[in-house]
């Protein structure tokens, strides 16, 4: 999914920095997100996801750095630029008195080439609720309506903010299918923020892990998993009875060496390849511990170079 090298990225950031007073929230983010890509920005609460996305959406002014979204600086985005962007936020509770179809039809009037509201309702599975008042929708239906409103103007870029918070598993699955369809069939670029690793793995072509205002890793889920698994952990119990563990890139060699030096079987021998989740939790933890070394920070540069 890093093969879109010919086209200019839909979102490009270089050295994006944000500080509130003396507090630095973002420490020089670099991002390239390409057309038709589903990109997940993953990170714990407070990592800077929201700040990053709001800068890209043009709702917040950055402190420093270069940002281009659909070829324009988001701080200067005009109406035409806005019309090419769709937004789905988790906190919307607006237009509660409107009826579903009425609201969608109304928002279609703001765009030069809107989708057909009836087709759109079918796409998000709300045809049966077309005449219902918005505040009578369930949480999942409300969010799907928000998605419909987000894409009614045929955006080229769609921002999804924690889109499935509070969804039941079935609604979540349907939502994932819908987002996948938008990206694959219509070439919509999607920037998804989430703290749910499973959702990011399921939906995204590429994932960036944002921890403590830095991108700690960036790549396809497979790449990240491979990188995560590169350092396997070998555990065993030594002759004196103490549990031992060692991290190594070559567990087979370590196990062979252990056997070579041992006189018999090795007690409690275990080789573990860390999962992506282990790595993610490890990164988050390390950040909580306060050590801010940029160990995995070259991940995004690798991905860009491809």
């Amino acid at each position: 999914m890093t093969s879109h090298t010919t086209a200019r990225p839909v979102i490009q950031a270089r050295g994006l920095t944000m500080s509130y007073g003396d507090v630095d929230v973002l420490h020089g983010i670099d991002l390239d997100i390409h057309r038709g890509e589903v990109f997940a920005l993953l990170g714990p609460n407070g990592a800077g996801k929201t700040t990053t996305v709001e800068i890209l959406e043009g709702f917040r002014r950055r402190s420093a750095g270069e940002v281009s979204v659909l070829g324009a600086d988001p701080e200067r985005g005009d109406d035409a630029w806005r019309g090419r962007i769709g937004l789905v936020l988790q906190s919307w509770r607006d237009h509660r008195r409107w009826r579903v179809a009425e609201l969608l039809t109304h928002f279609a009037t703001y765009y030069p080439d809107p989708r057909d509201p009836a087709e759109l309702l079918a796409l998000v599975g709300l045809t049966g609720q077309a005449g219902r008042q918005v505040d009578r929708l369930s949480g999942g239906q409300r969010r799907r309506l928000d998605v419909a409103l987000g894409i009614v103007g045929r955006p080229e870029l769609l921002f999804l903010d924690e889109p499935t918070t509070g969804f039941d598993p079935e609604a979540r699955h349907e939502f994932h299918v819908l987002v996948g369809r938008l990206a694959r069939d219509e070439g919509v670029t999607v920037l998804l923020t989430t703290h749910d690793l499973v959702e990011a793995e399921r939906l995204a072509d590429r994932i960036a892990m944002l921890v403590g205002g830095r991108i700690r890793a960036c790549g396809t889920p497979a790449e990240l998993a491979r990188r995560a698994a590169a350092q396997a952990e070998v555990r065993w119990t030594a002759d004196d009875g103490t549990p031992r563990r060692e991290r190594t890139a070559d567990p087979s060699r370590l196990v062979w060496e252990l056997h070579r030096d041992a006189t018999g079987p090795i007690a409690d021998l275990e080789v573990r390849r860390p999962t992506l989740e282990d790595t993610y939790l490890h990164m988050v933890h390390r950040e909580d511990g306060g050590t801010g070394g940029d160990v995995d920070g070259d991940g995004d540069r690798e991905a860009q170079a491809a």
């Binding site: 929201t50 709001e54 709702f59 420093a64 070829g71 600086d73 806005r82 509770r93």
Partner: protein
Amino acid sequence: MRGTRMTNENGTPGSRPPHPTRRLPWRAGLLRGGIELRHLLRNPKELSGHLSNVAAALAVAAFLGDDVPGTETPMAHLVIAGFAAYLLFQVGLFNLPQILVTEREEGALLRLRATPGGIPAYLVAKSLLVVVVAVGTLVLLLGAAALLVDGPLPRGAGGWLTLLWVTTLGLLAVVPLGAAIGAVLPNPREALALLMLPVMALLVTSGAVFPITSLPVPVQQAASVFPLKWMAQGLRSALLPDAARAAEPAGSWELPMVALVLTAWAVLGFLLAVPLLRRAARRESGSRLSARHEKAERSGAAPA
């Protein structure tokens, strides 16, 4: 917020495709205003809020048997004219700020900000809504009063003309001001408390419901700063017979002063409303919205 940006626009000219024609916000705004009006008419609770003012005015007028002191004009007529002014005043400075704060908190403002032409359309829709509600209740009040309690109506073309311009200028004085207030109020729950007291105080002190001359002079002077007194005075001049001006503080309708004060408030309102609304819209973002919702939930106000 502060800080330096190294570059702004970057490279590759012509990467933005030409955009199809932009639409005027008028169409979307008028459509929106029409839909909101329909929602209002279908909402018994909100509708009864507007109608209860009319009912209150009629009840008070039906009760009063006296004349305005020193004139032959029934007290009921003065009250009807005063309530008519108060209706305009309330829609602009009480209902409108509340609508704005509520819709901001729910995220309507943010959604429209994220929509091309959304904010201008929103303003058009709100203006339409406010004008229709204000004029609608005014017509209802005067019509019902004329039919039921022998209420006042303008005499001759001059009277109708005065009614028209005082209503127009009165709305221009209070609607932008109300929009400015709505842009700065913290949230719907506090908005009600913050608005209620000053609006009620002005209702009592502005001579809308009883002759202003019966109030102490400092109170009269304080009320003269605000638009309600002048709206009420202007509407009395349109609705009451000319002889009733004997009960006015100056012994005359002071129509030039009415026009002057209301125009000044209109100008001030516009000067405040434009930057404040722009600021309110600019500050909207998803995280602000979430923060407000969390705060509302913590303070125990049910968000739904």
